[in-house]
């Protein structure tokens, strides 16, 4: 019998990371909650058949990518107006709020590259598979995204690309 981790422990260990990724891609709102829920429901369905040795976090980030694409398609179908986001930083407001707003101003590819690599811990080769293009292009998109976030004054200069581990 395999000694597969309880799914409860999967949620406890990776729930916050998946929520960060969903929020970075979709904004810190109900859409991100929907994508999180759909991600873990899909993961729960597939979990018993997951090959042994799978990198669970990378797998979840990949599922989160697909579910966030679904949510965006749904959003486009509904053609709901998207709240305008400020494109200039405003003084001493909450840096967290500003960060989500700043992420929303990034081009889609940069935002996803930042989300999947810096928040989700996905290696650039895997990011490239999700976004298309080469690993080098994914690395550049993430670096450009981080550079643009810095111009908003949000990230200290030492927020290098290694805000977290998991670069395999």
């Amino acid at each position: 019998m395999s000694t597969r981790q309880l799914f409860e422990d999967v949620v406890a260990t990776h729930g916050a990371t998946v929520l960060r990724v969903c929020r970075a891609v979709l904004g810190p709102h109900a859409d991100a909650d929907d994508a999180w829920s759909e991600t873990f429901l899909s993961a729960l369905r597939a979990y018993p058949d997951l090959p042994a040795g799978t990198n669970i976090e990378a797998w979840l980030v990949t599922v989160a990518h697909r579910r966030s694409v679904d949510v965006l398609r749904g959003r486009a179908r509904r053609a709901a107006p998207v709240a305008a986001v400020p494109d200039t930083p405003h003084g001493d407001a909450d840096p967290e709020v500003d960060l989500w707003a700043a992420l929303a101003t990034l081009p889609d590819k940069q935002r996803r590259a930042v989300a999947y690599h810096h928040l989700g811990g996905l290696p650039y080769a895997d990011v490239a598979e999700l976004l298309g293009g080469t690993p080098e292009a994914a690395r550049r998109a993430a670096a450009d995204g981080i550079a643009r976030l810095r111009t908003h004054g949000l990230l200290a200069d030492d927020t290098s690309t290694d805000t977290r581990g998991g670069h395999r």
């Binding site: 395999s2 000694t3 597969r4 873990f40």
Partner: protein, 197 residues
């Protein structure tokens, strides 16, 4: 500040999402094992249920992580802390410990009770509230009067203690005998039921 700090979700946000996942998983028939804990006069109990019914009651001394890992291995890794499915069980146990309930009505999933041990465990509810039986008497009830030691093993491995009353089975010399929840818990349950131990 770095990205990870700036984007950290609060615990209440994750708790709300977890609750939503519990409901969605149950609705999609993907919640193979739901569990919760319950504080009782005999300590914290782990309660676990499949869609069929209550499948496991465990004492803290059995090691709750260990018990959950066994459930994942034997039943399914689709295990979530999801109290809703165990509301009825928790209520009946509260009533039992408050002295207002003598037997349990919740559906049971007997899939952890196999072989002769399972037969013994299925016959245990014949020993009613407030009464006791010896291991030898239970062996006779199960149709194998010589299998006294096997009855002892069956009681020790009862996956549903308290609800399936292995605590009512004593040694022939009147001693309490062992108990999966410890002899103190066994004595406490018998005292609660007013049984002469």
């Amino acid at each position: 500040m770095n990205l990870t700090d700036l984007t950290a979700p609060g615990p209440h946000e994750l708790a709300a999402l977890h609750a939503r996942l519990e409901q969605a998983a149950a609705d999609a028939d993907l919640l193979d094992v739901a569990y919760r804990t319950l504080d009782t006069p005999v300590g914290t109990l782990l309660l676990a249920a499949t869609p069929v019914g209550l499948v496991r009651v465990a004492y803290e001394r059995e090691g709750l992580d260990e018990v959950l890992a066994q459930l994942a291995a034997r039943l399914s890794p689709r295990v979530l802390r999801a109290p809703a499915r165990l509301d009825d069980t928790a209520r009946e146990l509260d009533e039992y410990f408050a002295g207002r309930r003598r037997e349990f009505d919740v559906p049971l999933d007997r899939s952890l009770s196999t072989g002769f041990r399972g037969e013994v465990q299925r016959s245990l509810p014949l020993v009613g509230f407030g009464t006791t039986a010896t291991y030898a008497q239970v062996a006779a009830l199960a149709g194998r009067p010589a299998a006294v030691r096997a009855v002892g093993t069956a009681c020790a491995t009862n996956p549903l203690p308290v609800v399936v009353p292995c605590h009512r089975v004593l040694r022939s010399d009147g001693a309490l005998g062992g108990y999966v929840g410890g002899t103190d818990a066994k004595a406490a349950l018998l005292a609660l039921e007013g049984a002469a131990a």
